[in-house]
């Protein structure tokens, strides 16, 4: 294993982590408000295709990225209206958004499939930090979206924990009737959260089409929206743990191809014989382990899941 290979592994870890962190951060906001959004996959697809087309049209990855967030938000609007305003089943609505979003993205993107985008994100090195050995290339020579994700993570933590809005959002995810009784609008809080979550998912999708795959094809998202949904559980609905979890998930994703190139023996096991397919299910396996751990711990403390998750709220039913 060479230095290049190790750095490459960690660079890819950070990038995969960024991709799922962005989507999961949005989903975290949504779930903390008490709404489950299973439409992440569809919102990411819509963001990926529209961001790519917009970047082609304007020659600017940033405009594409912003547009992807807007489109993600628009798609999330459907989920907000159906599940929050009308109070219909969140699971069904979310799945419908995923299926519809994937289909619509494929339709919209038909002509973009063979396009090569030159207007994609490129690595942005932060001098002089990028020159530090090891750390530099891993952390400070990345596409700007990586840095943005770090900033957004901090911002989400701040809003959740240090503002009135965040307090209300945390409360509405635990008990909508309580939040209503102190004068906050449950519908407004939850719809807002769903829309912001959609913007994050859309932006995450465009990170795929505007950097990681640098192009659009049907099937581009390939289940990463679902990894994001699992990651929120893994991260116990906290932005900090979510960041740690996304690095771990990102590491398993980056390891998948690389472990096959490592001529390395650990504890008598030749690592390049580890099945990459097995590594592929590791994030989901880890999530199940965390779920089990949570249910054991829940005997002594409250479950970290927002108590009102998936429960629609209607005032007259309290």
């Amino acid at each position: 294993m060479t230095e290049t290979a190790v750095i490459g592994l960690l660079v890819a870890t950070v990038q995969f982590a960024t991709l799922i962190y962005l989507a999961a951060l949005g989903e975290l906001i949504v779930e903390r408000s008490g709404v489950l959004n299973l439409g992440v996959e569809g919102m990411m697809a819509m963001g990926a295709v529209s961001g790519f087309i917009m970047a082609l049209a304007t020659d600017s990855p940033w405009i594409g990225f912003a547009f992807a967030a807007l489109v993600g938000m628009a798609v999330a609007g459907i989920h907000a209206v159906v599940s929050v305003v009308m109070g219909a089943g969140q699971v069904v609505s979310g799945l419908a958004v995923t299926i519809g979003g994937l289909g619509l993205a494929a339709f919209i993107g038909q002509d973009a499939v063979r396009e090569r985008a030159d207007a994609v994100f490129t690595d942005m090195s932060i001098a002089p930090l990028a020159d530090i050995a090891w750390i530099g290339p891993i952390l400070f020579d990345q596409p700007p979206v990586v840095y943005l994700a770090v900033v957004l993570g901090g911002a989400v933590w701040f809003v959740l924990n240090r503002t009135r809005l965040g307090l209300a959002l945390r409360a509405v995810g635990e008990s909508a009737s309580t939040t209503d009784s102190v004068g906050h609008s449950v519908t407004l809080l939850r719809s807002g959260a769903v829309l912001v979550g959609g913007a994050f998912a859309g932006a995450a999708g465009s990170f795929l089409s505007l950097y990681m795959a640098a192009g659009w094809t049907e099937g581009l998202i390939a289940g990463r929206g679902w990894i994001a949904v699992a990651l929120v559980i893994f991260g116990a609905w906290r932005p900090g743990r979510l960041a740690a979890g996304s690095l771990l998930f990102g590491f398993t994703l980056a390891l998948q191809p690389r472990v096959q190139t490592f001529d390395l023996e650990i504890l008598g096991l030749q690592v390049n014989t580890i099945s990459p397919a097995l590594l592929g299910i590791l994030p989901f396996l880890l999530t199940v382990v965390v779920l089990i751990a949570i249910s054991f711990r829940a005997r002594h403390r409250p479950n970290p899941a927002p108590a009102a998750l998936t429960i629609p709220y209607r005032r007259e039913e309290r």
């Binding site: 060479t2 290979a5 063979r114 990463r224 191809p257 190139t261």
Partner: protein
């Protein structure tokens, strides 16, 4: 979801209405034949489905037959049958081409139900004795040639191969490529990374990156997207593409590509259907039949190597020599094919071992 309600059908119906339905007649004019193509993905994938659609267009131009196609039909019996039956009942299709492995069993069933319609299945192995046959190409032949070009272009002697699944078709390709590489560069190694997906640009690109980081300077692939090529270009490395001539996606990296050329086969089948001479079989055509080929080499491939490639290519076309002719050793150095012997088609179709020079696990 019932297919009848899907937009796919509505779109297909609209296209057909515009084309106008040409009836299959009983005389020998292939222009009267209606041929329907069922594709597993979008024709815009630049890969597998695009190649089949190129073949369809070629056959239509050659024979004057009416051709119809539908994209992105899932590999399950219900969806496939709904599409095929619609073509047969409403469009009088005379021949149905199914271009994905998973269509095999529903095609066999439909062939019994509709004895007057010909069913041709790509990449499968089942057939009947009246109206259901299969066809595929000896892609390993151009893969060997592409390996020769790659072996000449590597500087580090370390090549990377981004591969989908460890199945005989893919393993055969890797082995053929490696034999080609070592023909011109006897000490070179081909490192394999399995992606467990036919189509996931992010994973394919990242796998190429991983190989590049481990020291490879040429990337070959058995995948359906162009992502590996883009990564190779970004790293200043070289790329052997697959399926079609993909040079426009990574012009600096592109060396060559083993490509599909389904057109002649499709034209021949349509003509056989037209004059009632069709008999089902297991068609496995090679470079001699034109169903597979090598894309033009990049300009910087040394002319000496280009000449050798042409020479071997000629031998293969003439049937003087084939790729899996001994002596061939396995990964462990043991002789797998004796000097002068040639592997049978059956052995090739069940290949589950790597030749010497491949680094990777054929059972991963």
């Amino acid at each position: 979801m019932r297919f009848k309600n899907s937009t796919r059908l509505i779109a297909a119906a609209a296209v057909l209405a515009l084309l106008g339905a040409a009836c299959g007649g009983d005389d020998d004019d292939p222009g009267d034949v209606t041929a329907a193509f069922v594709l597993v993905g979008p024709v815009g994938d630049a890969g597998w489905n695009w190649a089949h659609d190129q073949g369809r267009q070629y056959a239509e131009d050659e024979t004057g037959a009416t051709t119809l196609f539908v994209e992105s039909v899932p590999e399950n019996a219900e969806d496939f049958k709904a599409v095929a039956i619609d073509y047969i009942e409403n469009e009088d299709a005379d021949v149905i081409f199914g271009t994905s492995f998973g269509y095999m069993d529903p095609m066999l069933e439909l062939a019994e139900e509709y004895p007057d319609v010909v069913f041709e299945h790509a990449s499968g192995y089942k057939m009947n004795d009246s109206n259901f046959g299969n066809y595929f190409g000896r892609m390993y032949q151009p893969r060997y040639l592409s390996g020769m070009a790659a072996g000449a272009m590597t500087e580090t002697g370390r090549l990377g191969y981004v591969a989908a699944f460890p199945i005989p078709e893919v393993i055969r390709g890797i082995n053929a490529f490696t034999l080609g590489v070592r023909e011109v560069n006897p000490t070179a190694e081909v490192h394999v990374v399995w992606t467990s997906t036919w189509f996931d640009p992010a994973v394919e690109g990242d796998s190429a990156k991983a190989l590049l980081e481990s020291g490879a300077d040429v990337i070959a692939m058995h995948q359906d997207s162009t992502a590996a090529g883009v990564e190779a270009q970004n790293a200043g490395a070289r790329w052997v593409a697959y399926n079609s001539d993909m040079r426009e996606f990574a012009p600096d990296a592109f060396i060559t590509a083993p490509v599909w050329n389904w057109g002649p086969r499709y034209a021949a089948t349509i003509e056989a259907v037209a004059d009632d001479s069709y008999t089902p079989g297991s068609y496995w055509g090679g470079m001699a039949d034109g169903i597979v080929d090598l894309a033009p080499l990049a300009d910087d491939v040394p002319s000496g190597i280009a000449d050798r490639i042409n020479e071997v290519s000629e031998q293969i076309r003439e049937g003087e020599w084939d790729v899996f002719t001994g002596e061939i050793r396995g990964q462990d150095g043991a002789v797998r094919v004796a000097e002068g012997a040639t592997m049978t088609d059956g052995d090739m179709l069940g290949m589950d071992w790597f030749v010497e020079g491949v680094v990777g696990d054929p059972g991963a």
